[in-house]
């Protein structure tokens, strides 16, 4: 019964988030399903980036929306519903990650500043729209594998800030780290990614020159 209804809701893609949330809080399951449809792809992507495991990501996806449903009355309404759901997803994903890597340390909380990682080793100019050299699939593969090769502490900050478009403050809250920590990790993540992508995106014929 719900499936048919979900399809109806998903066709109202432009429907205002606030009204859906209000209706869901008043007990309208269809409205809640509409919110799930709206954000499921983003939450699944986020979970995959953090856990780096498809099975875990699917668990995170389910747990996130089940928890959101269960605790909807605790949603304050002073942040966006999406941000609230992201926070739940991040918590679930980090728990998975820690459990899976229990034998190795996952350095999300510790200071990983080596003092040297803002040093840039490869500098080469890119074309104006370098991503257009690649097919959608190739580009997706390049972008995902580059993000996934970052250390977890950098990866989670980058994904929340620059992929999911959360603010610095929202990212700090979701990851339970300070704003300065978000800023310094974001800078390093961006610089490291820039360097990784240079391999694919540098202007043809340009020689890389050493720097610093």
């Amino acid at each position: 019964m719900m499936k048919a209804a979900v399809m109806t809701v998903s066709s109202q893609a432009g429907f205002d988030e606030t009204s859906l949330v209000t209706q869901a809080r008043e007990g309208d399951n269809l409205a809640f399903a509409g919110l799930v449809k709206r954000y499921e792809a983003k939450i699944f992507r986020l979970a995959q980036h953090i856990t780096q495991n498809r099975e875990d990501a699917e668990d995170v996806l389910q747990e996130t929306f089940l928890k959101a449903y269960e605790h909807l009355d605790q949603f304050q309404g002073n942040s966006k519903f999406y941000t609230w759901v992201v926070r739940i997803a991040v918590n679930q994903a980090l728990m998975k990650l820690r459990r899976r890597k229990a034998d190795r340390s996952v350095s999300l909380d510790e200071d990983i500043d080596t003092g040297e990682d803002t040093v840039t080793r490869e500098v080469a100019a890119w074309d104006e729209d370098p991503e257009q050299r690649f097919s959608r699939e190739e580009l997706g593969e390049i972008l995902n594998s580059s993000v996934d090769s970052l250390a977890p502490a950098y990866r989670s900050v980058f994904v929340l800030r620059d992929v999911e478009d959360l603010s610095t403050e929202e990212t700090a809250e979701a990851l339970n780290i300070s704003v300065p920590a978000v800023k310094s990790r974001l800078l390093r993540a961006r610089l490291q990614l820039r360097e990784k992508l240079t391999r694919y995106f540098k202007r043809k014929g340009d020689d890389t020159f050493a720097y610093l």
């Binding site: 449903y69 803002t118 992929v163 800078l187 961006r190 020159f209």
Partner: protein, 80 residues
């Protein structure tokens, strides 16, 4: 006078347009005179733009149906 290291330390805020006018002017002067930092700023800006523009792929059908099934069960068990 800003060094390249000073410039890099401010790069994120510069690209996010979160610096004050005075600092911004200094940073822009630096990249107008330092080709390396100009390239780093330009390619980092493109890195961010490319990632922000990446739309999530729809979730696989089987994942979607398991999610909906779990949700239906939850809703049946605990009507709001």
């Amino acid at each position: 006078m800003l060094t390249c290291r000073d410039f890099l330390a401010e790069l994120s805020d510069y690209l996010d347009e979160r610096t004050d006018v005075e600092l911004r002017a200094k940073l822009e002067r630096h990249i107008s005179e330092c080709p390396n930092c100009w390239v780093i700023a330009d390619t980092t800006k493109k890195t961010i733009r490319i990632y922000k523009g990446m739309e999530p792929v729809p979730i696989p059908q089987d994942v979607e149906s398991r999610l909906m099934k779990a949700l239906e069960q939850k809703m049946a068990g605990k009507p709001r």
